[in-house]
Each structure stands twice: as structure tokens, then as C-alpha cells.
């Protein structure tokens, strides 16, 4: 057993067990904290895949920002245990079965597709050789990521900037809005 193998199995445990806890625990605060654990595990999985910068971004964005917002909102509401955690009835029973079916289907599909090993390697694709070299030496490949992001995907980057601006404006407006048709009081 090499170090990487042990790490992979340990990390998949770290990822999957809290993920199950997110779905199964009835207290939403515990769910949120389990999700934080999953996010940290996913960051570690990124690190085993040589995506060091993305692992850091996962930590900063997900555990440091998004999940803080989730936990803050949960504490703002002060929800205890959900009265009715899971959905009931015939329709939702069907949904449960369908969910398990999709799970099985995805697993089988993934395994069968992957074992065929289609050649997805783009021969001579730009930066591929650099990435291969970086992967072999275990060095930081953020510079390759940056070159790709800012030279080849500049339009997407600018559009995301606009999107973030629109969302900042929208959320402020949304949380400031008053009135509406369904107000109870």
C-alpha cells in the first residue's frame, strides 16, 4: 500500500460519511457542520489530484465563505430539529426509489464508461505538456491555470465579473424589499 492509496481511501471516507450525515441528520446545524467537513475533504482530494490552488480556493470560498453564510442563516433562524425531516407519502416514496435507482445507474455508468478507457487525451493541446511535467514533479501548477484562465478564457472571466456585480445588486435589493402579496401580518 503506497501513501497515495492510503490517503485516497481515507479521504473518500472523510468525504462520504459527512455527506451522508448531511442528508440523514435531522438537525440542520449538524447538517451544515457535516457539510463543512465534506468540503474540507474535497479540498484534500483536490490536493491529491495536484490542483493545489483549487484546494486552497475550495477552503477559502466554500468553508470560509459559503458555509459560514449557511451556518449564520441557520443560527439566525434558530431552528431546532425539523418536525418532519423527510418527505412522506406515495409520491415521495416513489422519489426515494427513483433516487436509489439513479444512484445505482450512475455508479454502473461511471464504472462501465471508465473501464473502457476512451482516449480523451488531447494530443498536443496547449499547455498539456507543461501540465504533465508539473504533475510528474508534483510542483505547483497554478501558473498554467492562470495562463489558461486569463488568455484563453478571458471572456468567461469578464462575464463572471458582471454576474457577481449583478448578484451583489440583486441580493441587496432582495433583502431590503418590503411588502408583497403574501404578508401574513
Amino acid at each position: 500500500m503506497s501513501m497515495d492509496t492510503v490517503l485516497f481511501w481515507f479521504l473518500s471516507l472523510i468525504v462520504i460519511v459527512p455527506a451522508l450525515a448531511v442528508v440523514l441528520l435531522s438537525n440542520p446545524v449538524y447538517s451544515a457542520l457535516s457539510l463543512v467537513m465534506t468540503m474540507v475533504g474535497v479540498a484534500a482530494v483536490f490536493a491529491t489530484l495536484n490542483a493545489y490552488f483549487l484546494a486552497g480556493v475550495q477552503l477559502i470560498v466554500y468553508t470560509g465563505a459559503v458555509m459560514v453564510l449557511f451556518v449564520m442563516v441557520l443560527m439566525l433562524f434558530d431552528l431546532k430539529h425539523d418536525l418532519q425531516t423527510f418527505s412522506r407519502g406515495k409520491v415521495s416514496g416513489f422519489l426515494k426509489i427513483a433516487g436509489v435507482g439513479v444512484m445505482a445507474g450512475l455508479l454502473v455508468g461511471a464504472i462501465s464508461l471508465a473501464t473502457k478507457k476512451p482516449s480523451l487525451i488531447v494530443e498536443g493541446s496547449p499547455l498539456a505538456n507543461e501540465l504533465a511535467a508539473a504533475a510528474a514533479s508534483g510542483a505547483d501548477n497554478t501558473k498554467i491555470l492562470a495562463e489558461n484562465l486569463f488568455l484563453r478564457n478571458m471572456l468567461g472571466f469578464e462575464i463572471l465579473g458582471v454576474l457577481l456585480l449583478v448578484i451583489a445588486v440583486g441580493t441587496v435589493a432582495l433583502s431590503r424589499s418590503k411588502g408583497g402579496t403574501h404578508a401574513r401580518d
Partner: protein
């Protein structure tokens, strides 16, 4: 012999299966849970599962585009969480309730 090599030689398949399991857990969370916030968290789980497979493909196919896409997905996911939670909070302020069963009122 087959089982032992499956355990020892970690490759692309392993990461894909991990991603598939995580995605399915997230999907069942969306389908089964009734708390809106937990539903949102399950969506985050699904997005993370997709990210794992992107990064795995990026590593094993030597293609940096995968990592850039993950970067974009993270941005979109965070933006989605921000908007979603803003909506949930304004719903909660009005109805004092975050159970989806309750939102049948919002019909028509």
C-alpha cells in the same frame, strides 16, 4: 486478484466513482429532505461532486481546462448560494417557515 488491484491502484475510475457516490447523496438529499436550507446544501454537495470529476479528468488527461471550469463552477455555486439564501431569508421573514411542504401556498 481483481479486488486487490482495485484497492491498490488508485486511478481515474476511483475518483469518478467517488464523485458519482457524492452526486447521488446530494441528489437524494434534494429529493428527500423538506428543509429548504438542507436542500440548498445538497445542491452544493452535487456541485462539489462534479468538481471532483472535472479535476480528476484534468489530471489524468493533462488538460488544464478542467481546473478553469472548476474555478468557474465554484464562482457560480457561491453566487447561487448567496441568491438562494437571500430568497430563503426573505421567505422566512414573511412566513416563519422553511419547510417546502408549506410553500404550496405560493401556487398560482
Amino acid at each position: 486478484m481483481q479486488e486487490i488491484s482495485l484497492l491498490l491502484a488508485v486511478g481515474l475510475n476511483h475518483y469518478l466513482i467517488l464523485s458519482a457516490i457524492l452526486f447521488t447523496i446530494g441528489l437524494s438529499g434534494v429529493l428527500l429532505r423538506r428543509n429548504l436550507i438542507v436542500v440548498m446544501m445538497s445542491i452544493e454537495l452535487m456541485l462539489n461532486a462534479v468538481n471532483i470529476s472535472f479535476v480528476a479528468f484534468s489530471k489524468y488527461n493533462y488538460n488544464p481546462e478542467g481546473q478553469v471550469i472548476v474555478f468557474f463552477v465554484m464562482t457560480i455555486a457561491a453566487a447561487e448560494a448567496a441568491v438562494g439564501l437571500a430568497i430563503i431569508v426573505s421567505i422566512f421573514k414573511r412566513f416563519k417557515e422553511v419547510n417546502i411542504r408549506f410553500f404550496e401556498h405560493l401556487k398560482g
